[in-house]
Amino acid sequence: MIKRTALSFAVAFVLGAALAAPVMAAEGTPHPPRNKWSFAGPFGTFDRAQLQRGFKVYREVCSVCHSIELLTFRNLSEPGGPGYSAAQAATVAAEFKIPDIDDSGQPTERPGRPADAFPKPFANDAQARNTHGAVPPDMSVLAKARTYERGFPWFLLDMVTQFQEHGPDYIVALMHGYKEKPADFQLPEAAYYNEYFPGHVIKMKAPLTDGQVTYDDGSPATVDQYSKDIAAFLVWAAEPHMEQRKRIGLQVMLFLIVLSGLLYFTKKKVWSAVH
């Protein structure tokens, strides 16, 4: 009886909790293929070289259209990130022009400082829409803002296996998803067909081509490599304290396991007097 009750509640909780799994229109959209990520799982950490490559892709390609306004230059040198030194972060900052007001009250531009946020490519949304026909989304938390529906029972298992890399998998898939449109597909003007984009109609032209970005560490200069590196970079940008979170998490779990064990035996001892 007790066992059945416990099981029923376990099932109830698991079902209930998991129903919050994010939803995305999935009609006719294939699931993004799974990738292997260094930051997955309870012990996951970022691959510093990959974050640096991803930053290079962002800077040379994405940043032309996409802002990343929540990220500051100092973040580049903070622990758990791409591992640049403070001096390197300051050098990067100085290469950007930041809009400011000078002493006479006139708009001006000055070199960036570590405390500055990355400047936006457009003055406002209207300008971006006028240029591109759509506002390119800000990339700061993009890796957490994109997902796909996993379906039953996977969305339940994800809670246990800690699979949560829906966002980066989707970003990689999107970069691979530019295909010839099916013959009967109606594609609007100035739009492109993408297999993984919900509805398949995307305003962004395929952004990456092989050889477009030159890596300093000899990694292959391919769309596949670029897309994985930018996705990893965006995961870090969305969750810059992830490494600290998982590290503290392990300490907390170990502490709680030991404490619960001690309390269990204390409880047993206390209750032995009345049982």
Binding site: G167, T266, V274, H275
Partner: protein, 415 residues
């Protein structure tokens, strides 16, 4: 419930104090000497867990409020500022957002336990109703809290839920405009939601005090549903209940920590990391998981006013449970038929929860309608009739007899 020692102050100061404000005596009689049925199982530990979660939510919430900015242009950024630049801000925020879910996990188990063992029956009706009021306040607080980060789901959730009040005949539109503080969900709405989200937990804490007070007047129910008859049927709250509650609380924290540290966004929606945009409606507007069964009931009914009435009724009907259930026997342990209907009810709520997360079309709507009928049928038809027709099993003479059927307490039964 005599026979338990009363508080005897040991030193001069405590003696002086006890004659003027007997607070030590109150704590002693409520949380030390207070007799609890000796046969309580682990389902009885969730009251303590809920108190802990309320405390955790208030403390993390007060810290978050120090860094949060309730303005439509700044709310999203201030939450991200907490995540990025406040020391351990990510921890405080994830504790708070996942804490809400853990609070609801615990309250659902607590309510289900009360329903299974008939804890709402005479003389515990007021205790039960106070619990329903706490649950309603929790739902309001949780909803308004989810609006505060001002992401897409925050905004559109607020639009959908506030619009429900528009179904009220004649004054609906005026009520909605009054709730919004304008002609759409906007800055005044966010401001008042923040204000209410901050104050309601203290209202909850007040009702919790009444809930515990009522509990200590009528005493705890127990798995047999029969009242303690002698000292043999009870044990002192401390150390017996305290250590048991403490152990389970730490186990519950393990679950809580799993979500906070390893899958902190699992129980949320990806869309809520997109800043609120009144011009773009998300493909599916889905509330937090703990509202999904009621959301399914709302959408199962084709008429808006009736849907809203059913949504409200599905929660309010819990308050009438003590009078809808006509059986004299409390515990489902001795009610074989009620037990079947109870588990069907639990399955129905879970099923409605699943349907609430799915688009309201085709087979999902039909299934939601069938389950809605059972949801209400359980309260309005099954419970009143069951008390008249059900053949219950014989009750034990006392709690200790139910544990030790042989008679004399065996010294080492089981842990």
């Amino acid at each position: 419930m005599s026979g338990h020692a009363t508080y005897q102050p040991q030193n001069a100061f405590m003696k002086w104090m006890e004659r003027r404000l007997p607070i030590a005596g109150l704590v002693y009689s409520s949380f030390v000497a207070y007799p609890t049925p000796r046969n309580l199982n682990y389902w009885w530990t969730f009251g303590g867990i809920l108190s802990f979660m309320l405390g955790a939510q208030i403390i993390t919430g007060i810290i978050l409020a120090m860094h949060y900015t309730p303005h439509v242009d700044l709310a999203f950024k201030s939450v991200e500022g907490i995540m990025r630049d406040v020391n351990y801000g990510w921890l405080i925020r994830y504790l708070h957002s996942n804490g809400a879910s853990m609070f609801f996990v615990a309250v659902y188990i607590h309510i289900a336990r009360g329903m299974y063992y008939g804890s709402y029956k005479e003389p515990r009706e007021v205790l039960w109703i106070l619990g329903v009021i706490i649950y309603l306040l929790m739902m309001a607080t949780g909803f308004m809290g989810y609006v505060l980060p001002w992401g897409q789901m925050s905004y559109w959730g607020a639009v959908v839920i506030t619009n429900l009040f528009g179904a009220i005949p004649v004054v609906g539109d005026s009520v909605v405009a009054w709730l919004w503080g304008g002609y759409s969900v906007g800055n005044p709405t966010l401001n008042r939601f923040f204000s209410l989200h901050y104050v309601l937990p203290f209202a909850i804490a007040g009702v919790v005090v009444l809930h515990i007070w009522a509990l200590h007047v009528v005493g705890q129910n127990n798995p047999t549903g029969i009242d303690p008859k002698s000292d043999k049927d009870t044990v002192a709250f401390t150390p017996y209940a305290t250590i048991k509650d403490g152990f389970v609380m730490v186990c519950f924290c393990l679950l809580y920590a799993w979500f906070v540290f390893y899958v902190p966004n699992y129980l949320g929606h990806a869309d809520n990391y997109i800043p609120a945009n009144p011009a773009v409606t998300p493909t599916h507007i889905v509330p937090e998981w703990y509202y999904l069964p009621f959301y399914a009931i709302l959408r199962a009914i084709p008429n808006k006013l009736l849907g809203v009435a059913a949504l409200g009724g599905s929660i309010v009907i819990l308050a009438f449970l003590p009078w809808l259930d006509t059986s004299k026997v409390r515990s489902a342990r001795y009610r074989p038929l009620y037990r079947q209907f109870f588990w069907m009810y639990i399955a129905t709520v879970i099923g409605l929860g699943y349907l609430g997360s799915q688009p309201p079309e085709g087979i999902y709507v039909i299934a939601a309608r069938i389950l809605t009928i059972y949801y209400f049928g359980f309260f309005i038809i099954v419970l009143p009739l069951l008390g008249m027709f059900e053949k219950t099993k014989p009750l034990p003479n006392s709690i200790s007899e139910s544990i030790f059927p042989a008679g004399a307490p065996a010294s080492k039964a089981k842990a």
